[in-house]
Protein backbone atom coordinates (compact mmCIF):
# COMPACT_ATOMS: atom_id res chain seq x y z
CA UNK A 1 0.00 0.00 0.00
CA UNK A 2 2.42 2.64 -1.19
CA UNK A 3 -0.20 4.87 -2.76
CA UNK A 4 -2.49 7.34 -1.07
CA UNK A 5 -6.19 6.63 -1.43
CA UNK A 6 -8.63 9.46 -0.95
CA UNK A 7 -12.40 9.17 -0.85
CA UNK A 8 -15.15 11.70 -0.20
CA UNK A 9 -18.75 10.95 0.71
CA UNK A 10 -21.91 12.93 1.29
CA UNK A 11 -23.84 12.15 4.42
CA UNK A 12 -27.43 13.18 3.69
CA UNK A 13 -29.57 14.58 6.48
CA UNK A 14 -32.64 12.69 7.69
CA UNK A 15 -32.06 9.72 5.41
CA UNK A 16 -32.16 6.67 7.59
CA UNK A 17 -31.86 4.25 4.73
CA UNK A 18 -28.65 5.87 3.43
CA UNK A 19 -27.08 6.53 6.83
CA UNK A 20 -24.09 4.22 7.10
CA UNK A 21 -23.36 4.04 3.36
CA UNK A 22 -20.04 5.86 3.72
CA UNK A 23 -18.88 3.57 6.52
CA UNK A 24 -20.02 0.58 4.54
CA UNK A 25 -18.01 1.69 1.48
CA UNK A 26 -14.89 2.26 3.59
CA UNK A 27 -15.28 -1.14 5.19
CA UNK A 28 -15.45 -2.74 1.75
CA UNK A 29 -12.44 -0.77 0.52
CA UNK A 30 -10.30 -1.78 3.50
CA UNK A 31 -11.12 -5.42 3.05
CA UNK A 32 -10.20 -5.18 -0.67
CA UNK A 33 -6.88 -3.68 0.43
CA UNK A 34 -6.29 -6.66 2.69
CA UNK A 35 -6.26 -4.74 5.98
CA UNK A 36 -6.38 -6.95 9.10
CA UNK A 37 -9.99 -7.81 10.08
CA UNK A 38 -9.77 -6.40 13.61
CA UNK A 39 -8.50 -3.07 12.23
CA UNK A 40 -11.36 -3.00 9.73
CA UNK A 41 -13.89 -3.62 12.47
CA UNK A 42 -12.47 -0.87 14.67
CA UNK A 43 -12.53 1.56 11.76
CA UNK A 44 -16.07 0.61 10.75
CA UNK A 45 -17.47 0.94 14.27
CA UNK A 46 -15.83 4.31 14.92
CA UNK A 47 -16.77 5.73 11.54
CA UNK A 48 -20.35 4.50 11.67
CA UNK A 49 -20.92 6.06 15.11
CA UNK A 50 -19.60 9.38 13.79
CA UNK A 51 -21.65 9.08 10.60
CA UNK A 52 -24.84 8.39 12.53
CA UNK A 53 -24.10 11.36 14.80
CA UNK A 54 -23.73 13.60 11.76
CA UNK A 55 -27.13 12.41 10.52
CA UNK A 56 -29.05 12.63 13.78
CA UNK A 57 -27.37 15.59 15.49
CA UNK A 58 -25.57 17.49 12.71
CA UNK A 59 -28.21 17.78 9.94
CA UNK A 60 -26.02 15.62 7.69
CA UNK A 61 -22.52 16.41 6.48
CA UNK A 62 -19.64 14.75 4.70
CA UNK A 63 -16.86 12.26 5.17
CA UNK A 64 -13.30 12.69 3.94
CA UNK A 65 -11.17 9.56 4.06
CA UNK A 66 -7.42 9.21 3.50
CA UNK A 67 -5.59 5.92 3.51
CA UNK A 68 -1.83 6.24 3.44
CA UNK A 69 0.80 3.70 4.38
CA UNK A 70 -0.07 2.24 7.73
CA UNK A 71 -3.13 4.26 8.67
CA UNK A 72 -6.57 5.55 7.79
CA UNK A 73 -7.75 9.03 8.71
CA UNK A 74 -11.45 9.83 8.56
CA UNK A 75 -12.92 13.29 8.97
CA UNK A 76 -16.68 13.43 9.47
CA UNK A 77 -17.86 17.01 9.43
CA UNK A 78 -21.19 18.77 9.61
CA UNK A 79 -22.54 22.30 9.80
CA UNK A 80 -25.01 21.45 12.54
CA UNK A 81 -25.49 22.96 15.99
CA UNK A 82 -22.07 21.94 17.37
CA UNK A 83 -21.48 20.46 20.81
CA UNK A 84 -21.74 22.92 23.65
CA UNK A 85 -19.97 20.90 26.34
CA UNK A 86 -17.67 18.35 24.73
CA UNK A 87 -16.44 16.89 28.01
CA UNK A 88 -20.03 16.15 29.00
CA UNK A 89 -20.85 14.73 25.55
CA UNK A 90 -17.92 12.32 25.85
CA UNK A 91 -19.42 10.76 28.97
CA UNK A 92 -21.30 7.47 28.64
CA UNK A 93 -25.02 7.96 28.87
CA UNK A 94 -25.10 11.64 27.96
CA UNK A 95 -27.45 12.25 25.06
CA UNK A 96 -29.64 15.05 23.78
CA UNK A 97 -31.29 12.77 21.20
CA UNK A 98 -35.06 13.32 20.90
CA UNK A 99 -37.60 10.52 21.33
CA UNK A 100 -37.88 10.05 17.56
CA UNK A 101 -34.20 9.01 17.52
CA UNK A 102 -34.58 6.78 20.56
CA UNK A 103 -37.39 4.99 18.77
CA UNK A 104 -34.88 4.18 16.03
CA UNK A 105 -32.68 2.41 18.57
CA UNK A 106 -30.15 5.20 19.09
CA UNK A 107 -29.62 7.98 21.59
CA UNK A 108 -28.16 6.07 24.53
CA UNK A 109 -25.17 8.38 24.73
CA UNK A 110 -22.73 5.59 23.87
CA UNK A 111 -21.46 6.74 20.48
CA UNK A 112 -18.68 9.19 21.31
CA UNK A 113 -17.22 6.97 24.09
CA UNK A 114 -17.39 4.07 21.64
CA UNK A 115 -15.47 6.05 19.01
CA UNK A 116 -12.83 6.86 21.60
CA UNK A 117 -12.57 3.17 22.46
CA UNK A 118 -12.07 2.03 18.87
CA UNK A 119 -10.00 4.85 17.35
CA UNK A 120 -6.25 5.05 17.91
CA UNK A 121 -6.53 8.84 17.74
CA UNK A 122 -9.62 11.00 18.08
CA UNK A 123 -9.81 14.75 17.61
CA UNK A 124 -13.11 16.62 17.84
CA UNK A 125 -13.38 20.22 16.71
CA UNK A 126 -16.73 21.74 17.46
CA UNK A 127 -18.22 25.16 17.85
CA UNK A 128 -21.68 26.00 18.99
CA UNK A 129 -23.82 27.14 16.08
CA UNK A 130 -21.09 26.34 13.52
CA UNK A 131 -20.70 22.57 13.35
CA UNK A 132 -18.58 19.62 14.32
CA UNK A 133 -15.62 17.79 12.78
CA UNK A 134 -14.65 14.41 14.15
CA UNK A 135 -11.23 13.11 13.06
CA UNK A 136 -10.60 9.42 13.58
CA UNK A 137 -7.29 7.70 12.94
CA UNK A 138 -6.74 3.97 13.01
CA UNK A 139 -3.31 2.40 12.47
CA UNK A 140 -3.19 -0.89 10.59
Amino acid sequence: MGQVIIRDFDIPADDFLAAGEASSAVRKLLSQLGVAPDRIKRTAIAMYEAEINAVIHGHGGKAHVEIRGDKITIVISDKGPGIEDLELAMQEGYSTAPDSIREMGFGAGMGLPNIKKHADELVINTEKGKGTAVTITVYF
Binding site: L17, S24, R27, K41, G105, M110
Partner: protein, 115 residues
Protein backbone atom coordinates in the same frame (compact mmCIF):
# COMPACT_ATOMS: atom_id res chain seq x y z
CA UNK B 1 -26.31 -24.02 14.08
CA UNK B 2 -26.96 -23.13 10.49
CA UNK B 3 -29.42 -20.37 9.61
CA UNK B 4 -31.87 -22.95 8.23
CA UNK B 5 -31.72 -24.85 11.54
CA UNK B 6 -32.34 -21.67 13.50
CA UNK B 7 -35.29 -20.86 11.25
CA UNK B 8 -36.76 -24.31 11.86
CA UNK B 9 -36.27 -24.04 15.62
CA UNK B 10 -38.03 -20.67 15.82
CA UNK B 11 -40.58 -21.48 13.16
CA UNK B 12 -39.26 -18.41 11.41
CA UNK B 13 -39.82 -17.04 7.98
CA UNK B 14 -36.63 -16.30 6.02
CA UNK B 15 -36.72 -13.20 3.83
CA UNK B 16 -33.35 -13.31 2.13
CA UNK B 17 -31.69 -15.63 -0.35
CA UNK B 18 -28.24 -14.17 -0.72
CA UNK B 19 -26.66 -15.52 2.47
CA UNK B 20 -24.64 -18.61 3.04
CA UNK B 21 -26.21 -21.45 4.95
CA UNK B 22 -22.89 -23.05 5.77
CA UNK B 23 -21.76 -20.81 8.63
CA UNK B 24 -22.04 -22.41 12.04
CA UNK B 25 -23.66 -19.77 14.23
CA UNK B 26 -22.67 -20.12 17.88
CA UNK B 27 -23.28 -16.75 19.44
CA UNK B 28 -26.07 -14.19 19.57
CA UNK B 29 -27.18 -11.03 21.28
CA UNK B 30 -30.68 -9.73 21.92
CA UNK B 31 -31.33 -5.99 22.02
CA UNK B 32 -33.70 -3.27 20.92
CA UNK B 33 -31.11 -0.59 21.45
CA UNK B 34 -28.63 -0.38 18.57
CA UNK B 35 -26.42 1.94 20.66
CA UNK B 36 -25.85 -1.00 23.01
CA UNK B 37 -25.20 -3.44 20.19
CA UNK B 38 -22.55 -1.07 18.83
CA UNK B 39 -20.97 -0.56 22.22
CA UNK B 40 -21.18 -4.02 23.79
CA UNK B 41 -21.78 -6.80 21.30
CA UNK B 42 -18.31 -8.07 20.56
CA UNK B 43 -18.26 -11.24 18.52
CA UNK B 44 -21.85 -12.21 18.00
CA UNK B 45 -23.03 -13.71 14.75
CA UNK B 46 -26.74 -13.27 15.32
CA UNK B 47 -28.92 -10.36 16.41
CA UNK B 48 -32.40 -10.82 17.88
CA UNK B 49 -34.44 -7.64 18.03
CA UNK B 50 -37.91 -6.17 18.15
CA UNK B 51 -36.71 -3.06 16.36
CA UNK B 52 -37.39 -2.84 12.63
CA UNK B 53 -35.57 -0.18 10.61
CA UNK B 54 -32.70 -0.02 8.10
CA UNK B 55 -30.17 0.95 10.76
CA UNK B 56 -30.60 -2.46 12.37
CA UNK B 57 -29.06 -3.90 9.21
CA UNK B 58 -26.31 -1.28 9.14
CA UNK B 59 -25.51 -2.05 12.76
CA UNK B 60 -25.34 -5.78 12.04
CA UNK B 61 -23.09 -5.06 9.06
CA UNK B 62 -20.62 -2.98 11.10
CA UNK B 63 -20.59 -5.64 13.81
CA UNK B 64 -20.07 -8.33 11.17
CA UNK B 65 -23.17 -10.25 12.10
CA UNK B 66 -24.53 -12.92 9.77
CA UNK B 67 -28.23 -12.87 10.56
CA UNK B 68 -31.00 -10.81 12.16
CA UNK B 69 -34.12 -12.30 13.71
CA UNK B 70 -37.08 -9.97 14.16
CA UNK B 71 -39.22 -11.14 17.07
CA UNK B 72 -42.91 -10.84 18.01
CA UNK B 73 -43.90 -11.33 14.37
CA UNK B 74 -42.29 -8.11 13.14
CA UNK B 75 -41.46 -8.09 9.47
CA UNK B 76 -38.77 -6.23 7.52
CA UNK B 77 -39.76 -3.77 4.78
CA UNK B 78 -38.70 -4.32 1.17
CA UNK B 79 -35.92 -1.70 1.31
CA UNK B 80 -34.46 -3.50 4.32
CA UNK B 81 -34.58 -6.85 2.56
CA UNK B 82 -32.72 -5.37 -0.42
CA UNK B 83 -30.10 -3.85 1.84
CA UNK B 84 -29.62 -7.13 3.67
CA UNK B 85 -29.29 -9.08 0.40
CA UNK B 86 -26.57 -6.67 -0.67
CA UNK B 87 -24.73 -7.20 2.63
CA UNK B 88 -25.29 -10.97 2.64
CA UNK B 89 -27.08 -10.77 5.97
CA UNK B 90 -29.97 -13.17 6.53
CA UNK B 91 -33.29 -11.71 7.72
CA UNK B 92 -35.72 -13.89 9.66
CA UNK B 93 -38.99 -13.22 11.43
CA UNK B 94 -40.43 -15.29 14.26
CA UNK B 95 -43.69 -15.03 16.18
CA UNK B 96 -41.88 -15.73 19.45
CA UNK B 97 -41.19 -12.78 21.75
CA UNK B 98 -37.59 -11.77 22.45
CA UNK B 99 -37.18 -13.71 25.69
CA UNK B 100 -38.72 -16.87 24.33
CA UNK B 101 -36.76 -16.80 21.06
CA UNK B 102 -33.50 -16.17 22.93
CA UNK B 103 -34.25 -18.96 25.40
CA UNK B 104 -34.88 -21.49 22.68
CA UNK B 105 -31.58 -20.66 21.01
CA UNK B 106 -29.73 -20.78 24.34
CA UNK B 107 -31.22 -24.17 25.06
CA UNK B 108 -29.81 -25.34 21.76
CA UNK B 109 -26.28 -24.25 22.50
CA UNK B 110 -26.15 -20.65 21.25
CA UNK B 111 -24.35 -18.39 23.72
CA UNK B 112 -23.80 -14.67 24.19
CA UNK B 113 -20.39 -13.04 23.98
CA UNK B 114 -19.20 -9.68 25.11
CA UNK B 115 -21.86 -8.50 27.54
Amino acid sequence: MKISEIAALLNAEVYTENHDDVTDIRSACSADLMSDVMAFAKENALLLTGLVNPQVIRTAEMMEMKAIIFVRGKKPQQAMIELAEEKKIALLSTEFPLFEASGRLYQNGIRGHGF
